[in-house]
C-alpha cells in the first residue's frame, strides 16, 4: 500500500473523528482543538497538518492586527479625533483643540504610504526620522532614571541590619553586603575599556557569577511560567473540549 493511499486514509479518518467530536462537543470548541493539535503536531515533526495550521495562523493574525489598527488607530484616533477637533473649533467656536495635531500624524502616515511610489518614496524617511528621534529621546531619559539612577539609589543603604531584639542580624547584614557587591561587580563586568584580567578580572568574574545566578533564577521562573501554560492548554483539551475532568 503506497504512502499516498495511506495519507488519504489518515486524512479521511482524521476528518471523520473531528466531525463526530464537532457533533458531540460543539463545532467552535472542536475547531479550536483542531488547530491546537495542528500546532502541537510540529513537536513530532514538520508536516502538512502543521503547515496548514501555520498558514491559517499567519493569515488570521496578520488580518487581526490589520483590522485592529484600522478601527482603533485609523478610525477611533485619527478620524474621530479630527472630527472632535473640528467640532470644538468650527461648531462650538471654542478655538484651538489639541487633537488638530493628529493631522500631522496623518500626514506622516501618508508619507509612509508614498513608499508605494518609488519616485517620492524618500519622503517616508521624514516619518521614520520623527519616530526614531522621539524614541531615542524618550528612552534616553526614562531608562536612565528608572533603571539607572533609582536603582543606584536603592543600593545605597546601611549594610548592617538589626533584629527586633536590637541585636545585629548577621545573616541580613551579609546578604545586604552580597547584594551590593554583586550589583557593583556586575556593573564592572560590563566595563568595556579593560581586558578581564588580574584583580579587575577577578571582580568581573564575581560579576558574571552573579549574572549566572540571576539567569538561573529567571530560568526557574520561566520553567514555572511555561509549564503553567501547558497545564492550561491540557486543561482545555481534556477538560473543556473532551469534558473528562470533573
Amino acid at each position: 500500500m503506497n504512502n499516498r493511499v495511506l495519507a488519504y486514509i489518515v486524512v479521511a479518518v482524521g476528518i471523520a473523528v473531528f466531525a463526530i467530536l464537532a457533533a458531540t462537543q460543539g463545532f467552535a470548541v472542536t475547531m479550536g482543538a483542531f488547530f491546537t493539535i495542528g500546532i502541537f503536531s510540529f513537536l513530532y515533526k514538520d508536516n502538512p497538518y502543521y503547515k496548514f495550521s501555520e498558514a491559517v495562523f499567519v493569515g488570521i493574525s496578520a488580518g487581526y492586527w490589520f483590522v485592529s489598527l484600522f478601527w482603533q488607530n485609523m478610525v477611533s484616533k485619527l478620524y474621530m479625533g479630527i472630527q472632535a477637533a473640528y467640532n470644538t473649533t468650527f461648531v462650538e467656536h471654542a478655538g484651538w483643540d489639541d487633537r488638530w495635531m493628529m493631522l500631522l500624524g496623518g500626514l506622516l502616515g501618508l508619507f509612509m504610504l508614498l513608499r508605494l511610489f518609488p519616485k517620492i518614496g524618500w519622503l517616508s524617511r521624514w516619518s521614520l526620522a520623527v519616530i526614531v528621534g522621539a524614541t531615542a529621546g524618550l528612552y534616553f531619559i526614562n531608562y536612565f532614571v528608572s533603571n539607572g539612577i533609582i536603582q543606584l539609589g536603592a543600593i545605597i543603604a546601611p549594610l548592617q541590619s538589626f533584629t527586633e531584639a536590637g541585636k545585629l542580624d548577621w545573616w541580613g547584614t551579609i546578604s545586604q553586603a552580597l547584594l551590593v557587591a554583586g550589583t557593583l561587580s556586575g556593573v564592572v563586568y560590563f566595563y568595556f575599556s579593560k581586558e578581564h584580567t588580574g584583580a579587575f578580572g577577578g571582580v568581573a568574574k564575581i560579576g558574571i557569577w552573579t549574572l549566572m545566578l540571576t539567569f538561573g533564577a529567571s530560568f526557574g521562573y520561566t520553567v514555572m511560567s511555561r509549564m503553567s501554560l501547558l497545564i492550561g492548554r491540557m486543561d482545555y483539551l481534556v477538560g473543556t473540549w473532551l469534558g473528562l475532568i470533573r
Binding site: 501555520e54 493574525s61 521614520l128 526614531v132 522621539a134 524614541t135 543600593i155 545605597i156 575599556s193 529567571s218
Partner: protein, 411 residues
C-alpha cells in the same frame, strides 16, 4: 441640618436604607430623603483640621494641590468617615462646588480643573456617606472659617529632576561626546573583545561556504523600542558583511515600520559596498504583527530552508526559546543579543553566542569599528565609574552612620 440627617442615615450599619438612598441619589442628587430623620442617635464625623492649598509644584499648571489634617473620627477604631469632599469657590464666602473627593485616610487631593492665575478658595468636609451630597446640603454643613486659597501656574523646570537628574545627564552625555571627539581626532581607543561579535564574520562566511541562507531576526517590537533601533543598526553592519561575502540574507520582520526601516538600512549597506545589483527589497519581508504567528512562521522557515546562520538582535519575549530551540535542532550557528533579561538564559542555553544587555547596544559600534562609535562606549565606561564611586561612597557613609544620601537618587 437635612444634610446631617442624610449623613446619619447612610452610615454603614443601615445598609438596606442606605442602598435605597444611594439608588435614589443616582437619579437625582438634589433629592433629600426625609426618612433620614428617623435616625437620631447617629452623628456626622468631626470636621477636618487645618486646610492648606497651594499650586501643584513641577507641573504644567491648571492644577492646585489641597491637603488637610484628617478628621479625628478618621482613625483606626473610629471609622466614621467614608470620604472627604473638597470644595472649590472663587471667593472665601462661596458659592462652593465639588472639586473632588478623597477616600478616608487620604489627606491630599490634586484639583486639575482650575485656570491659571485666578485665586481659588478651598474647603474640605468629612462625611460618613460614600455619595456626593447636593449643593444646599453642602452649604448647610460647611465649616465657616476653615479654608485656604491658592493660584495655579505652570513651572518652566521640574525642580527635583533638574537638580538631581540633569547633572548626571550632562556629565555622562558630555563625557560620551568628549570621547567621540577624541576618537575623531584619531586617538587610539581600546575596547575589550566580545566573543559573540568576534564570531559574526566567521558565521557569515560559513553560510556562504554552505550556500545556505543567513536569517536575521530584529526582535518582535516596533520602531518605538530602542532595542529594535539597536537591532536594525546591527543589521546594517551584518548586511554589509553579507554583501561582501555574497551570502544570501533573509530578514523576516513582524512590524511594518521595521520592514520599512530595515529595507533602508540593508539597501544602504549593499550600496556602500558597491553591490546594489545583489540587493532585492524582498530580502526584508513582513510576516505578521502577531508574536506567535511570527514564531510559527519562523519555525516553519527554519526547518524547511535550514539556514546556516541565525542572528537574533533586538527585543525578544517568549518566542525567543521557540526560535532558538528550533534553530538549534537544525544545527545553525546562532548569535543572539537582547536586553530582555528574562530571555537571556535561554539564548545562553540554545545559542552559540549571546550578547548580554548592554553588549547589544555596544554591538553596532564594535562591528562598525568606526572610532567615533567606539568613543561612545568609552563614555559609557566613564558613567560606570561614576556610578560605582557614588554607590561605594554612599554605602560607606550610610553604613558608618554619617548620612544616607539615597534620597538624592529619587525623583
Amino acid at each position: 441640618m437635612v444634610f446631617l440627617a442624610v449623613l446619619m442615615l447612610s452610615v454603614t450599619g443601615h445598609p438596606a436604607l442606605a442602598q435605597e438612598q444611594q439608588a435614589a441619589r443616582l437619579t437625582d442628587t438634589a433629592q433629600v430623603d426625609t426618612t433620614a430623620l428617623l435616625e437620631p442617635e447617629l452623628v456626622a464625623p468631626a470636621t477636618v483640621g487645618g486646610i492648606s492649598a497651594e499650586d501643584t509644584p513641577d507641573d504644567a499648571g491648571k492644577s492646585i494641590t489641597v491637603s488637610w489634617e484628617l478628621s479625628v473620627d478618621d482613625t483606626t477604631g473610629k471609622e466614621n468617615v467614608a470620604q472627604y469632599i473638597v470644595l472649590r469657590g472663587t471667593s472665601s464666602d462661596g458659592p462652593f462646588d465639588t472639586a473632588g473627593t478623597a477616600t478616608a485616610g487620604t489627606n491630599t487631593l490634586t484639583d486639575g480643573q482650575v485656570e491659571n492665575g485666578i485665586d481659588y478658595f478651598y474647603k474640605v468636609i468629612a462625611v460618613s456617606s460614600t455619595l456626593l451630597p447636593s449643593g444646599e446640603e453642602l452649604s448647610a454643613s460647611l465649616p465657616q472659617d476653615l479654608y485656604d486659597a491658592a493660584r495655579a501656574s505652570g513651572q518652566w523646570y521640574h525642580e527635583a529632576r533638574t537638580t538631581r537628574i540633569l547633572p548626571w545627564v550632562l556629565v555622562i552625555g558630555l563625557s560620551i561626546l568628549w570621547f567621540i571627539k577624541a576618537a575623531k581626532k584619531g586617538r587610539e581607543l581600546y575596547v575589550r573583545p566580545i566573543a559573540g561579535l568576534a564570531e559574526v564574520e566567521h558565521a557569515i562566511g560559513r553560510a556562504t561556504e554552505m550556500g545556505r541562507k543567513i536569517v536575521y531576526v530584529p526582535g518582535i517590537q516596533d520602531m518605538d523600542n530602542v532595542q529594535t533601533l539597536a537591532g536594525v543598526t546591527i543589521l546594517g553592519r551584518i548586511a554589509k558583511l553579507a554583501a561582501e561575502y555574497d551570502a544570501q540574507l533573509d530578514v523576516p520582520v513582524s512590524r511594518s515600520l521595521v520592514m520599512v526601516t530595515a529595507r533602508e538600512v540593508v539597501k544602504e549597506a549593499y550600496l556602500s559596498v558597491g553591490r546594489p545589483d545583489a540587493f532585492n527589497e524582498d530580502m526584508v519581508h513582513y510576516i505578521t504583527d502577531d508574536q506567535f504567528g511570527y514564531a510559527a512562521a519562523l519555525d516553519g522557515l527554519f526547518v524547511r530552508e535550514k539556514p546556516a546562520t541565525i542572528f537574533y538582535m533586538g527585543a525578544f519575549y517568549a518566542e525567543s526559546l521557540i526560535l532558538a530551540e528550533t534553530g538549534n535542532t537544525i544545527g545553525a550557528i546562532q548569535i543572539a543579543g537582547t536586553a530582555m533579561p528574562a530571555q537571556l538564559p535561554f539564548f545562553v542555553a540554545a545559542c552559540d553566542y549571546t550578547l548580554i544587555g548592554e553588549e547589544l547596544f555596544a554591538a553596532s559600534a564594535y562591528l562598525s569599528k568606526e572610532a567615533k562609535l567606539l568613543g561612545s562606549l568609552k563614555g559609557q565606561d566613564v558613567a560606570k565609574v561614576l556610578i560605582l564611586i557614588a554607590a561605594i561612597i554612599g554605602v560607606l557613609m550610610a553604613t558608618l552612620g554619617f548620612v544616607n544620601i539615597s534620597g538624592w537618587f529619587r525623583v
